[in-house]
């Protein structure tokens, strides 16, 4: 599909498809490069899924789970995803912790979300604090990982953001032009941007049509990510839960913020801040003082907060 909306706007070519349980989109400035860009994105996501999925029995992550308690040599992509996840955990004081695998499965998110939605609400299970990222051992020399027995990892948000960053860079390099990659609303851009930058809509759901978004912002480089509590949600017993887990309780985070968006030098950098802010709840504004990213936070009552230069403007 080629998008042409205004004679003054650049002509951009967009391709979208389903992958890793969400909608994957690539946007390029050269329509002739769109097919090639789509193929590169699909290949990157297939590689990510094979390395990091906690739903695929044949993923490398499942090998790590099956050998918990022992050191396991893993591929470069999984090792990088683990390194990024542990870095995120350390920088957020454990708010974004990859050892939530058992907790999120106990909440019922143990399969692709479409499957979770299709079955009746599961009965509540006992919840508790997760093991903690500090117990995951990485050895870069041998490219091995060791997790404690009984621990399962969920690389969810950081791995998706990492995939967006890697894919955007690979595509921009491959087509020798600018590219935007969006994985369910986690956006990475690389290469030269179009005039005025890459326009990204901000809305509570990434499926919101362009004309109904809350705000449109432009980024020139790096990434933009959003985390929300009202979507990617399901029922446990008679209560609704969502996919962002508080590692201290093992439970779905109480939704103080309904949407947090951030920019960063990469999609990973942005994603770390948005996920952590959801976990931090009302303490997020203070915690964000230690970060450089521009952040937009929408509170449960609709009030919008801007941190570090995110532009506040009347909605479109």
């Amino acid at each position: 599909m080629t998008c042409t909306t205004d004679t003054h706007e650049p002509v951009l070519a967009t391709r979208s498809f389903r992958a890793i349980g969400t909608t994957a989109t690539v946007v390029v400035q050269d329509p002739a490069a769109a097919d090639s860009a789509e193929r590169m994105l699909a290949a990157e996501l297939e590689a990510l899924d094979l390395a990091c999925s906690r739903f695929r029995e044949d993923s490398q992550l499942q090998v790590v789970h099956a050998n918990a308690g022992s050191s396991v040599e893993v591929g470069e992509l999984l090792f990088e995803a683990l390194r990024v996840a542990l870095d995120a955990a350390e920088r957020t004081g454990g708010a974004v912790d990859p050892t939530i695998g058992n907790a999120i499965a106990a909440l019922g998110y143990d399969a692709d979300l479409d499957e979770v939605h299709a079955r009746p609400p599961a009965p509540p299970q006992a919840l508790g604090a997760v093991a903690g990222y500090m117990h995951v051992q990485l050895n870069p020399r041998t490219r091995t990982v060791r997790i404690p027995r009984g621990v399962r990892l969920d690389l969810g948000s950081t791995a998706k953001a990492l995939a967006a960053d890697r894919a955007a860079a690979r595509i921009a390099d491959g087509i020798d032009g600018g590219a935007l990659v969006s994985l369910g609303g986690d956006v990475a851009v690389a290469g030269p941007p179009p005039a005025g930058g890459w326009a990204v809509g901000i809305a509570r759901e990434s499926s919101t049509p362009a004309g109904l978004v809350d705000q449109v912002v432009a980024i020139m480089h790096g990434g933009l990510a959003s985390s929300a509590t009202a979507v990617r949600a399901w029922k446990v017993g008679d209560r609704q839960v969502h996919h962002i887990v508080d590692p201290r309780t093992g439970d779905s985070v109480a939704p103080y913020w309904v949407l947090v968006s951030a920019t960063g030098t990469s999609c990973v950098e942005a994603n770390i801040v948005t996920t952590a802010s959801i976990v931090w709840g009302e303490q997020a504004l203070g915690r964000l003082a230690g970060f450089d990213q521009s952040v937009r936070l929408v509170r449960f009552d609709g009030k919008v907060f801007s941190v570090n230069g995110w532009p506040l403007e009347p909605t479109t």
Partner: protein, 115 residues
């Protein structure tokens, strides 16, 4: 030479006043500098007054960076500290990766990912 040995002439009185002005300016300058140093130390050590450390473990709940708010409808905006803010963290500028408002039609939307 001791001042007491100097004759009480108009010229010597002018020199003495000039010396006194110099000493006074120096004392004021030193006091101001000391105040600034104390302020910096306090802002670094006092929780909520100046934490700029990286990562959650180093930041201070209740303090804030450059925080602005607007209504959910976006019809107005104002700058204010959030409830519970206890001081400026020194993180007052825009980020190097700050977005800008765009009038273009977005090609993608960033938000919660339901599917």
């Amino acid at each position: 030479m001791s001042p007491i040995d100097q004759p009480n002439t108009p010229e010597n009185r002018d020199k003495a006043r000039s010396r006194l002005r110099t000493l006074t300016r120096g004392a004021i300058f030193a006091a101001t500098g000391a105040t600034v140093v104390i302020g910096v130390v306090v802002s670094r050590d006092h929780p909520g007054a100046g934490s700029t450390g990286k990562g959650a473990g180093a930041t201070t709940p209740g303090s804030s960076g450059s925080v602005s708010t607007s209504t959910g409808s976006g019809s107005s905006s104002s700058s204010s500290s959030n409830t519970g803010s206890t001081g400026n963290t020194g993180n007052t500028g825009s980020s190097s990766s700050s977005p800008s408002i765009s009038q273009s039609t977005p090609t993608v939307t960033s938000g919660g990912s339901s599917r």
